[in-house]
Symmetry: C2
Subunit: 331 residues, 2 copies
Amino acid sequence: MKKFVNDPKAFVPDMLRGIALANPDTLTYLPEFNLIMRSDSPSQNKVSVIQGSGSGHEPAHVMAVGKGMLDGACPGDVFAAPPTDYIVEATRRLASDKGVLLLVNNYTGDKMAFEMAAEFATAEGIHVRTLFINDDIAVEDSLYTIGRRGVAGNFFVMKAVGAAAEAGADLDEVERIGKKVNAATRTMGVALSACTPPAKGTPLFEIAEDEMEVGIGIHGEPGRRREKIKPAAEIVEEVVEALISDLPYEDGDDVALMVNGLGGTPISELYILFGNAHERLAKHGIKVTSSYVGEYCTALDMVGMSITLVKLDSEIESLLAAPAQIAARVF
Amino acid sequence: MKKFVNDPKAFVPDMLRGIALANPDTLTYLPEFNLIMRSDSPSQNKVSVIQGSGSGHEPAHVMAVGKGMLDGACPGDVFAAPPTDYIVEATRRLASDKGVLLLVNNYTGDKMAFEMAAEFATAEGIHVRTLFINDDIAVEDSLYTIGRRGVAGNFFVMKAVGAAAEAGADLDEVERIGKKVNAATRTMGVALSACTPPAKGTPLFEIAEDEMEVGIGIHGEPGRRREKIKPAAEIVEEVVEALISDLPYEDGDDVALMVNGLGGTPISELYILFGNAHERLAKHGIKVTSSYVGEYCTALDMVGMSITLVKLDSEIESLLAAPAQIAARVF
């Protein structure tokens, strides 16, 4: 296993400690609950927004904590939902008079843990709601899901919801925006390699040197099919056509376009894919007005990418453009 | 070869086109010279700062173009110095009454191309200087270098020089700052895998499943030695001890600490390394006051990392903290 790790069982706490040490002025870290939270949260004047999920998807979601996005993140172990009591504790510590919104990517384990945690928190008198994200069009139902999976499009929900909460919107309004952005967002991914969970030490699946998995999940779940690797522009064509026929997007639409790396793909290749996607969309009369290229939701060390489209209107556009100050920054 | 590419020979222009399409309001792209420049440069009221190098190191340097950092970048092909005429053209287009500073990582090919370009530009009446960066302590001389190599520490020179130029400093002052930051900066890297140039299609070197290369160069050049992979904290210990003994850094020093991914390393592992480095420095009484974790200078798809330390004083600290608005951003 070619990884920079110490004890593989301590992979998540070792990583979280690093994130906390790199952001001493803005983040508070509670190791006993895998909890990373804004040092200045909760504010009783804003809705608190929390997301949890399995680890291994960084920068999602622990590095999206900060002003203008999440108030806290409570990850589980690698590719495992956070324990219910971690979510309850996060909700308690970030409870606000204006309410708490729990963002959850739609996987069965996460859904169960968050719904149960919301029940416990409600019983304690905390005003809390859950919002499920399911932007991945690759498959209905899958290894870990009933319905569609939540993947990199999650970023846009966090960003818009975070901006609305920061601006003082109430829980109804923050929830409305989250649902609206989720409904306007579609993603599909392609993997060229598997990924290796540190505690397992071997790749999650086998894939031949000349093959790719179209519609890959961010835990290595199967997608639509396995096929021979094609040139980047042809891969992009297939993914973009699947995306725009799903919503559907129309001639004249403005979109946000994200090309997300799955962990092991160089930035150079992501920009090649972005250029090809931009050109493909132009052929349909769809205009890219916001661009996102980089790592937003990864699958450990997987060589792969996903493409996300968000159909924009002026409300979503201004929420995405609002300032945010979070751990995930390059420069 | 597991890559998202079209024609491997068009790897660099395909990537540059993607970068330009993602930043239509701020960047201008001249394909005939591989030139990415600020759309609002040159300003005759500031020194223009340009960097070129081989491609394959993204985000360095094409994604560091923008307000507060570079005015332009003229990359060559993958791991190849830019042609002299590209550099001359970049210098012409970005010529300013206050002068032009060419930043160059210290490799023989780049050094020759930039020195020749500076001579041509000078002959045309442009006030231009070159500044060489050599932060890599792994080896003196190497496959492509006389003296030490320039690697990820280059970021700090670009950032400080860019901030000084933006603030209106003259060419003498901008050059002084660049030399000062270079002199205060030390880097060393470790690779767990080789990298595969797209046009070659096969890895640049062989490395066994249980081996790492200590002191790796960003073109796959050999480092200090090959050894068995160790736990992250032990790898960090070796690199940090080498760095602090080189400058030397002392008890009570404030430093900027960068953990840079070489292209194929997940963010999660970079934060594990960062935590270990932070703790190791604390044992020496060295305090991390600025943190940088992510990809700053890569080697295509190499699984590996480098650690950079910058000895800070109040001048360097404030230049590094100045605002910059560039293509490389995660959120």
